[in-house]
Amino acid sequence: MSATARVEERLFQNRYLVDSGRPHIKIKPHDVPSRALLAMTRLCPVGCYSLSDSGQVEISADGCVECGTCRIVTQSTGELEWNYPRGGFGVLYKFG
């Protein structure tokens, strides 16, 4: 419970069934991310979004908990292609 804990460490406790090679969220190619998409690098509760060296936002959706925050925040910019994982895949809560 230290103040320097990282979200990645917390996610090891979660159960996932990852649909390999079929990410359910994709970022459309862009040169400069919108403010909304950039915000997701901080706002995603499991840290799926990161900034590349050349200034684009990238996603690794494996730890995604399917909350939908990124979909809501970027709805007006159209930068995301957002779907739920295929039936049965994705996060599997033990407690919820």
Binding site: V7, V65, E66, C67, I72, N83, G88, V91, G96
Partner: protein, 435 residues
């Protein structure tokens, strides 16, 4: 795959979908329920408090076998600044009744149980299946669904959308607008495990008694939001949530916000020695009455979070979900019995039914609160908690200063903090929105 025709299809197996499917199946209708998770509850997150009354109206004997954690005998409401909390506690042995009023639950386990009762009642449950779109006839009436399992459409007289806050089906089918970032909260939550004796000693409870804490103040760093801590049998649910648009403008990450809340001097001792076994995040629709979308149309009904049925002021949601699911199902049963078509006009009996319940009465009562809190977040979630804390400290610290001077100092801090006009204005606006 499934070539039959159903009386009703229910999308989702959370509280609203299970309430609807159970009610339909017990009345003898042919029901198909579709859930994208491995089992009912595997995708669901909540605090979580179960309000007995709403479930009792559906399954009166639920206490016999539902997985309940603790019944709530003590409610704490905390206003917090960075180093203190000012609390209102209500504890009563009256809550140790034969049929307790509120329980803490674990949603993954509770939903799985509810789902087993739905199947016992005769509904067919299809898990690991995501509905991809609604199927409409040439007149635009919804007549069924397509799923990611492929194959042809599955047909039904009516489709009940219990797909949750982030429901894509209704939105993509043009039945309801997208949720605005300022009317939805993002909550993060952890499950912390401790021996039950430790929990009971720490919270001054025995047996299956439970304590819940709802907290607001500087813990949300100036954003509109609240934190919570609920005692389960052998674990503590701890979480915090803020309005998404506030998060988007803030530099604070949700995970850091939860870490800071857990490390608050009033919270930290309650969690000492615990082991975190799950980290979850979920959206909560908090727009209230004004955010409720169109609820019925030709061949479809919306229930639960998908219909924005959350009372943010009282932290109620699953009871609204179950009640809307039940009333939607009762509407469908009534039309089905009388062989009346599931048109928008006929299904509007659902809206009329809801208007008579606490669901619509409560949401209507608080229709002005979300906008008020959001517009005045700096005061309600920052300034006032700090002023209250300072006032308490001035009052309780015995330091040779006389009481009249202390009273003056307290009033002065409020007036310099907000001005008299501002204080009266906030009080007036709050009272008006509350009425």
């Amino acid at each position: 795959m499934i070539e039959e025709r159903f009386d009703a299809i229910v999308i989702g197996a959370g509280p609203s979908g299970n309430a609807a499917a159970y009610t339909l199946a017990t009345e003898g209708l042919k029901v198909l329920q579709i859930e994208r998770g491995e089992y009912s509850g595997s995708k669901n997150v909540q605090g979580a408090i179960l309000y007995a009354d709403a479930l009792e109206k559906i399954i009166p004997d639920f206490r016999d076998d539902a997985p309940l954690e603790r019944h709530v005998i003590e409610q704490r409401i905390w206003t917090m600044d960075d180093s203190s909390h000012t609390g209102m506690h209500y504890r009563s042995d009256d809550f140790n009744e034969d049929r307790p009023n509120r329980y803490t639950i674990l949603r993954a386990q509770f939903d799985k149980w509810f789902s087993s009762r739905v199947r016992q009642a005769g509904a067919i449950l299809l898990c690991e299946t995501t509905v991809t779109e609604l199927v409409k006839d040439l007149q635009g009436k919804v007549i069924g669904v397509r799923t990611d399992r492929g194959g042809g459409p599955i047909l039904a007289d009516v489709v009940i959308l219990a797909e949750g806050v982030n429901g894509l089906v209704g939105h993509r089918s043009g039945l309801r607008p997208e949720i605005a970032p300022d009317s939805v909260a993002l909550a993060v939550k952890e499950m912390h495990f401790l021996p039950r004796e430790t929990i009971e000693a720490r919270f001054n409870i025995t047996g299956n008694e439970g304590v819940v804490i709802e907290a607001m103040g500087t813990i949300t760093k100036g954003m509109t939001g609240t934190g919570f801590l609920y005692t389960n049998e052998e674990s503590i649910s701890i979480g915090i949530g803020c309005i998404v648009s506030d998060f988007a403008e803030s530099e604070v990450t949700p995970f850091e916000l939860l870490e800071a809340f857990k490390n608050h001097p009033s919270i930290k001792p309650l969690l000492v020695g615990s082991e975190c076994k799950e980290y979850a995040a979920h959206l909560i629709p908090e727009g209230g009455y004004k955010a409720i979308p169109q609820l019925v149309g030709d061949g479809w009904i919306v229930v639960g979070d998908a219909g924005q049925f959350v009372n943010a002021v009282h932290r109620e949601g699953s009871n609204l979900a179950m009640t809307t699911g039940r009333i939607a199902a009762e509407t469908v049963v009534s039309l089905h019995r009388r062989r009346i078509a599931m048109t928008r006009e006929n299904l509007s009996a659902y809206e009329q039914g809801l208007a008579k319940t606490f669901v619509m009465k409560d949401l209507r009562k608080y229709r002005g609160i979300p906008a008020l809190l959001h517009a005045n977040k700096a005061n309600f979630f920052g300034l006032y908690p700090q002023l209250i804390s300072q006032a308490m400290q001035t009052w309780f610290r015995v330091d040779g200063v006389d009481k009249v001077s202390k009273e003056k100092a307290i009033f002065r801090s409020f007036r310099t903090g907000r001005t008299l006009g501002g204080l009266i204005g906030d009080a007036f606006r709050l009272v008006r929105a509350w009425r």
